[in-house]
Symmetry: C2
Subunit: 567 residues, 2 copies
């Protein structure tokens, strides 16, 4: 491709709307353009990257026996009503009606569609296992689309669905996909971790998220430097922390005017936060829930939600606290509170002579002891893991990091086959439910995540495996016929050997051409200047390392090939 | 691919819902499954065909300087409002609202989107010409989705948009696309014609449709066996037919009780239909229009619509005829009719002593002569061409045929660049409108059209260039180890040489395997039976011709390659 013809309009300024580096660089390098909030056009360079990621995904899916198909984007409501998710999905689902007033949605996912498809065509155990996948646009009407492709409303996903005869089959399919995902993200040149995750609303249990490690990541993960353990913080399980037992003192009440925060009350009383019981109130679709954690801990709302088995959970407003619980915001505590559902984190049960709100203005209880002074309805692990908490596997201190979720593997078991009656006849002629898994990769998000991990002040640094082109050839002077002719010949030679090259034939100053090359992030830049002409030497600069190499004009092809092989 | 694992559930019975052969065969061969009216899943075999067509399209677009990008499917209403098409599109456009109540549509086409994109990034004549294309789902909420993929509501299109500096540039881009389309449909193995067509509601003038010739085609086309002329019947222009002049007789009125049709009145009066003036009344958004054609001719409503320059046109109901025109359905005629718009086909002006309705019940006028007895507001070519009409180019008789429209090339000129203010600065620094063209190919429809043209009573006959696989290998007995082992070895050999083969390893009777092979339509079938084992001879059957060839087991690869090259 000649750069003079390439449709990649670069921008010198960083658009104000772009908060994170991948978004900024994709706009600046002319890779994407916004059409509406969370809705983008993929320009030619971006599309080339997407196609390369898609092909890597495709190869690894096929290698595990996956078969590609393509399901509709518009899905009739009926199949979603059959599983009950039409109502559950809420505002995140784009809905529309056709001219006959029939309800449709734009598929946010395809469990209903694929299960409906397979149940009508698969009858016998001989047709199983089956792994079907597609790569296409998905739709989620995010409340706050942002970060460019990172959290869009229209985005490209690969979704594979496995259908097995039994749980053993599912376990095998799951492991195969886990291996395939590891291979895919390795081939894309990403630093990532597979973390244990929570099932969430999609249902099922047994799931890993594949997280690209990056500071801009929206997900908090925890990992153990000492063992293999890694998990989404929401998922990480924790044991109760034990503390040396103290003698129980007498419950008392103290004046704590204006101390509405943990920090204020500890400062006033001269104690540490681990001596406080933190009390939070939630409204859920199963009623009001009061949750207790130690003052230096945070509530893990996902664990709480799973425990209560509720679909919605949010912090209660003042009205609920005052009218339903008879308490006062900032001074809530478990002693004497009127609630049908009091859930204590297990570590709270090991606190001695603690401090908590007295459910009345400007007062706290001291010397509070669980069991003696209050009785939780449920005692469970409901806290969020923190840096240096003991690793659930080896007990050594864990680390935390930010991650971008680019993939997820998921055991659905019989959730959908049961709801949609997807059965087969086993060897003995008995009807059995198919056992399912689903496995997603955010293809467009993977492209953005790659940039988050591979950039510098000048622009993008593409791993060669998914770079839009491998090499850019830049003549110093577009007016110099010898340079232009040699650059053109190198361009042709490289392309003829399967190396994807662009030739910057524009009538621009060298600085402009170099800046664009760095911004777009071609792995290698070949400069053709006076030295090339006079000394028969071409200069090759490695974008990632800044390394500059000189090759003979008559013998550069193999050198460039081997350079690319290690990028 | 092993057939035991291939997800292509075949059906023995033809589903009742399928009216045309491509729809029937795609359902039966497990290539597609319906999700809703006009909305289908492409199963693995169909997706392979689609990918091959897409790649042919891609290669030919790139060869003409096209650059692929990918625009959103969901499009904000604002850009459609800017061109006025938000209101014009009507019920055919799928519309939806996001959670913030903003209007979106599912793109039926992308002129607005691409023009909005290009206007913000292209400033200079040096960035032109530009040819941008994409391959993706398009959406049209058809009133009557039918014929499977032929008239769907969700379908795959390639759409390219050209941006040129001037009309000369557009003419060149148009010719390039015309050439590319010819190459594409030739490579797909289709019999087709490029026909002159009418612009229709999309706007612009200068357009050809690429029609695959097939009896099930929804479009009527006309072509000349004597010269190169071919056109959509709606577009074909006609000269007035001259008849020997007759002496004008005196206008008279006759009783014609119950003769509401041309046939009835000609039978009663013992005349031929070319002696009658046929009068039709239309309601349009520009008012009532009365149209006249000779009794043996039909009105071309597209020509009429273009002439009146109206957006909507439909036959008037009885009320309009009676109340607005003071006439009687079945007895309408131009003599004395009260209408502001009387349009006569130019051939009507050459009728002498004709018969027409007398605008009163059960009466006709005889010896009607144009000019003397009635004066049209407009005289123009408004009739539909018919078989044996004179060719507009060479005057010899034309033929008619049915066609499936699989592509269209279209000069938009400055329709959209003007509406959306897409300008550039020319060499002299003056602002100019970009000159545009658009070029579509129905990718999924091309697949269906190929089947319409390539099938027999047993199933599909794929042209090798777009066949899902090239060869199926069928062992006669799946219990015979020698056969299975040899079949497997041939399967591996073919795939290793880039020939896409499937191995029917199922434990089925040979008849079942042969039937499926013919139904799916692999170009070649290799049979491995006792003869293969005993005599070292494999049998290769050509699906298209039924030809059976015998090759040496040790020397079949080149033979199969050269066979495929000519299929």
């Amino acid at each position: 491709m000649l750069v003079s013809q390439l449709y990649a309009p670069t921008l010198r300024e960083t658009p104000a709307e772009a908060e994170i580096v991948s978004h900024q660089l994709m706009l600046r390098s002319g890779m994407i353009r916004k059409a509406a909030g969370g809705v983008y056009t993929y320009m030619p360079l971006a599309l080339r990257v997407l196609r390369k990621i898609e092909n890597i995904v495709r190869q690894e899916m096929d290698a595990k026996g996956g078969q590609e198909l393509l399901m509709p984007i518009i899905q009739p409501a009926e199949m979603w009503q059959e599983t009950g998710r039409w109502d559950v999905y809420g505002d995140e689902m784009f809905r529309l009606k056709d001219r006959h007033n029939r309800d449709f949605c734009l598929g946010p996912t395809h469990e209903e569609m694929i299960t409906t498809l397979v149940r009508s065509d698969v009858r016998s155990y001989r047709q199983l296992p089956l792994k079907l996948y597609q790569i296409q646009n998905k739709y989620r009407d995010e409340r706050r689309p942002r970060f460019g492709l990172m959290r869009g409303r229209e985005f490209i996903m690969k979704d594979l669905y496995s259908f097995d005869k039994d749980e053993d089959g599912l376990a095998k399919s799951y492991d195969q996909m886990y291996e395939a995902y590891t291979a895919i993200f390795n081939r894309c040149g990403l630093t990532f971790r597979a973390v244990e995750a929570d099932g969430g609303a999609i249902g099922g249990s047994g799931t890993h998220e594949f997280m690209v490690i990056a500071d801009s990541g929206e997900a908090a993960i925890v990992y153990c430097p000492s063992c293999e353990y890694a998990a989404n913080v929401e998922k990480a399980e924790l044991e109760a922390i034990s503390i040396p037992k103290e003698e129980l003192k007498t419950l008392s009440i103290v004046d704590t005017p204006g101390t509405k925060s943990i920090e204020a009350v500890t400062t006033l009383l001269g104690i540490t936060a681990d001596k406080v019981i933190k009390t939070l109130v939630y409204n859920t679709d199963k009623g009001v829930v009061v949750a207790l954690v130690r003052g230096d801990h945070e509530v893990n709302e996902i664990k709480l939600q799973n425990l209560v088995d509720c679909l919605t959970i949010e912090l209660a407003d003042e009205k609920t606290i005052v009218e339903t619980l008879g308490s006062i915001p900032g001074f809530i505590g478990p002693v004497g509170i009127k609630t049908p559902m009091l859930i204590a984190d297990s570590t709270v049960m090991n606190q001695y002579n603690a401090v908590c709100g007295a459910n009345t203005s400007d007062k706290h209880y001291c010397n509070v002891n669980a069991k003696r002074d209050f009785s939780p309805t449920i005692i469970a692990d409901i806290r969020l893991i923190q840096e240096n908490d003991p690793c659930p596997h080896c007990s050594l201190p864990v680390k935390t990091a930010r991650g971008i979720e680019v993939g997820q593997v998921f055991k659905l078991h019989t959730k959908y086959s049961n709801a949609l009656k997807a059965t087969y006849l086993d060897m003995n002629g008995r009807e059995q439910l198919m056992v399912m898994g689903c496995y997603g990769i955010g293809v467009s998000r993977t492209m953005a995540a790659t940039i988050e991990q591979n950039n510098d002040e000048y622009g993008i640094i593409w791993p060669a495996a998914i770079a839009p082109y491998h090499v850019v050839i830049v003549p110093i002077s577009s007016k110099d016929e010898a340079q232009m002719s040699l650059a053109n010949s190198i361009y042709k030679t490289l392309n003829a050997s399967g190396i994807e090259a662009v030739f910057d034939d524009r009538n621009e100053r060298p600085g402009v051409k170099f800046k664009d090359a760095d911004l777009i992030g071609y792995p290698l830049k070949v400069t053709v200047g006076p030295k090339t002409i006079n000394e028969n030497i071409i200069e090759v600069k490695v974008r990632r390392t800044g390394e500059v190499l000189y090759f003979d004009v008559n013998n550069y092809l193999e050198e460039i090939k081997s350079l690319l092989a290690r990028l």
